[in-house]
């Protein structure tokens, strides 16, 4: 509240005007203290109401512009102060020189001082108006670089600040601009690191727009904990946002290596005869009691009232779980509506990784190559974990996490090598866990044993 009163309001009123207006208010109160008419009190009360409710609701006043109405009384109070000279008491029909010559020495000094105040205020106002901020156009200049980079290309764009302004100056649809993350919970480095991990297996080039403070280190790949194998990370544009040079707006480009995913424009390949992943094509469907049990395990106690069990199909040999928060429910089910291959594809729609969970491909642990096809209905992020467990399945080990990124409307093939499984002690079996944030179709997931006599392919692992 104090900050809004002494900083917020004066900033919109203009500080020199605010100071003189305050003096004008006191002097008006003093000169009218004996002749306080109702009009005077009405003005005072109105201004007090305007200021006081804004102070009471200061937490809602995110900007000093909410107090812009106070410019009017501040200007009038300033003018009152500057023109309340001794000539008030004189006959104003006389000429200025006659009035001036009849004044006392003190009064003449007072007039001189007040006119000096007028000149100072006018000069300060004009100085502020005519000041050209050389750093003010940083967003248009950065967006010019961004526009030339993204012309005629598929790309992803992440902006931590000013997404609407970036959309305006770059011509990019604002809906295409994604945020880096929640800046109140994570640092810039954490958000960049998370994004690079997720985008390492993205086919599209990514652009990042964010601000960097003076004391923040330059976010190189090494600083973020990656080596050059994840892809190319380059700063395309940077400039200061003000003459104080304490903050920069920067544009980075990330060309991922995407070792585990590729865009797929050909026919979906059928399952290999050496495939060991059961029901990876999702053509075998649960029926009867098995289906009811699976639904009960899947939803637990949170089967929505509007849920039609008869319309939900789940595949054999896979386990699912879901959750619902604030009415937002994820679901995983088989769909026969435009499947990628065969009769069914698996459809996953989820708000976050934590909401969707599917597990399958149970087999004894071995070096293998997991492949599958993804068709993205909207921009989606997928996590794939090879998991290892013992016979009782009381403990599991998630060895690595592979992040995949799929852009809306495209089809991809993913390939993940799981190697050196002989080094994993105490666990004899393995499976795969897939989690998704977004809306995708999955099909033809298969697992081919890798010949250990051959050099193993190593995927990107974190």
């Amino acid at each position: 509240m104090i900050h809004y009163l002494f900083v917020g309001i004066p900033s919109i009123v203009f500080e020199p005007v605010a100071i003189v207006a305050l003096l004008g208010g006191f002097s008006a109160f003093g000169s009218h203290r004996k002749n306080k008419g109702p009009f005077f009190w009405s003005v005072i009360v109105a201004v007090c109401i305007m200021i006081s409710w804004r102070l009471i609701a200061y937490s809602l006043m995110t900007s000093s512009r909410y107090a812009s109405i106070l410019i009017y009384p501040a200007i009038i109070a300033t003018a009152w102060f500057c023109f309340q000279d001794e000539r008030d008491k004189q006959n104003r029909t006389c000429s200025f020189s006659h009035q001036y010559n009849t004044l006392s020495r003190f009064a003449k000094i007072k007039i001189f001082a007040l006119y000096t105040v007028i000149i100072i205020i006018a000069v300060l106002c004009l100085k502020k108006i005519l000041h050209r901020d050389l750093y003010g156009g940083y967003t248009p200049r950065l967006c010019k670089t961004l526009r030339s980079e993204t012309a005629n290309k598929d790309y992803l764009l992440f902006a931590q600040n000013e997404p609407d302004r970036i959309a305006f100056y770059s011509g990019i649809d604002v809906k295409k601009i994604q945020t880096l993350g929640d800046a109140t919970e994570h640092s810039l480095d954490e958000m960049l690191k998370q994004k690079i991990m997720e985008l390492n297996n993205s086919v599209e080039v990514s652009y990042f727009v964010f601000s960097l403070k003076k004391d923040e280190p330059v976010p190189t790949l090494q600083h973020l904990g990656f080596d050059s194998s994840v892809g190319e990370w380059e700063c395309l544009h940077q400039e200061y946002t003000s003459k104080r040079k304490n903050k920069k707006m920067v544009l980075y480009r990330f060309i991922p290596a995407h070792p585990n995913i590729e865009e797929w424009n050909e026919t979906i390949t059928t399952l290999d005869q050496n495939n060991t992943c059961k029901n990876g094509d999702f053509e075998q469907v649960l029926v009867g009691k098995e289906m009811e049990n699976a639904i009960a395990r899947y939803f637990g106690d949170i089967i929505p009232e509007s849920f039609d069990i008869t319309a939900c199909l789940l595949p054999k040999d896979w386990n699912f779980s879901t959750s619902s928060i604030n009415g937002k429910t994820s679901f995983t089910r088989l769909t026969s509506e435009k499947p990628m291959d065969g009769i069914y594809s698996l459809e996953i729609q989820s708000h976050s990784y934590g909401f969707s969970y599917m597990e399958g491909g149970y087999m004894p642990k071995k070096d293998c190559l997991l492949t599958g096809f993804i068709q993205a209905k909207k921009d989606s992020k997928i996590m794939v974990h090879p998991c290892f467990f013992n016979s009782e399945k009381k403990t599991t080990l998630i060895e690595n996490t592979y992040w995949l990124y799929a852009s809306a409307g495209k089809t991809y093939k993913f390939s993940i090598s799981v190697t050196n499984t002989q080094n994993i002690k105490d666990f004899n079996n393995m499976c795969f866990v897939i989690q998704c944030s977004g809306h995708i179709l999955l099909d033809n997931i298969q697992c081919i044993k890798l010949d250990t006599s051959l050099p193993s392919e190593s995927g990107s692992q974190f």
Partner: protein
């Protein structure tokens, strides 16, 4: 009169100069440009500001910007030109308010001059935002209220109510006048400046015109249910999923 004309031209000149010095659209301005463009393209005032934020904003400034687009201006140009034109008249409003309050011509002229060269007034005039539209209507409201007090004529309060309704459709902070006007009239009645009958006449003129202008303008802009729809969307957004997520 000549001095006031000079001040108005000075105000216009300084605003055009400011626009040349800093033509960058502000953060809020870029959001408003999207709203205006969407309204112009679809004929409907958008219900959503972004993917997950209902549109709470009062529609009048966007309606005025959209109307200017019909003469071939872009949304950004329409927003800025509207604000420059309205901002150029702000010194006239300050002159009127100062004259009614102080009855001193020198104070009124200097107030007008100070408004013309005021940094915030100039800065707000060259951004496609709501502030200058609000300051114009609220300045006019203050002038009419002060004139109504001085001249004791009900049609000034009538006009103040009309213009205050326009200000309410620009920024919701105008709601403070629903408290200020009754308090001011009570002060005048207590000080025997106005009679009880006069105070009630002025108060009712103001409120009837205030509400009437809000409803009439909302009907004209076809945004009658906008605020109610925004409340509904806010409630839905907070407690229920939107779109396909709710099909289960």
């Amino acid at each position: 009169m000549i001095g006031l004309t000079f001040i108005l031209f000075l105000s216009l000149f300084l605003k055009l100069l400011c626009w040349d010095y800093d033509p960058t659209v502000s953060r809020d301005g870029s959001l408003y440009i999207q709203l205006v463009q969407s309204w112009y393209d679809t004929g409907l005032f958008p219900n959503m500001l972004s993917a997950d934020t209902p549109n709470w904003l009062p529609p009048l400034p966007f309606f005025l910007m959209k109307s200017l687009m019909c003469i071939g201006l872009s949304a950004a140009e329409a927003g800025v030109i509207l604000n420059i034109v309205l901002g150029s008249f702000a010194p006239l409003l300050t002159y009127g308010i100062a004259w009614e309050v102080t009855q001193r011509k020198d104070i009124a002229v200097f107030s007008a001059f100070l408004t013309a060269i005021h940094p915030s007034m100039n800065a707000l005039s060259v951004k496609p935002q709501r502030d200058m539209v609000y300051l114009f209507f609220i300045g006019l409201t203050l002038w009419l209220i002060c004139a109504g007090i001085r001249k004791k004529q009900w049609h000034f309060w009538f006009g103040a109510g009309l213009v205050c309704g326009c200000a309410m459709l620009t920024r919701f902070e105008t709601i403070e006048f629903l408290v200020i006007v009754p308090v001011v009239l009570f002060c005048l009645f207590s000080g025997k400046i106005t009679t009880k009958r006069q105070s009630l006449l002025y108060l009712s003129s103001f409120f009837v015109c205030f509400l009437g202008s809000i409803f009439f303008l909302s009907f004209l802009m076809k945004t009658t249910g906008h605020f109610v729809q925004a409340c509904e969307l806010y409630y839905q957004n907070k407690y229920y999923a939107l779109g396909k997520q709710s099909e289960f």
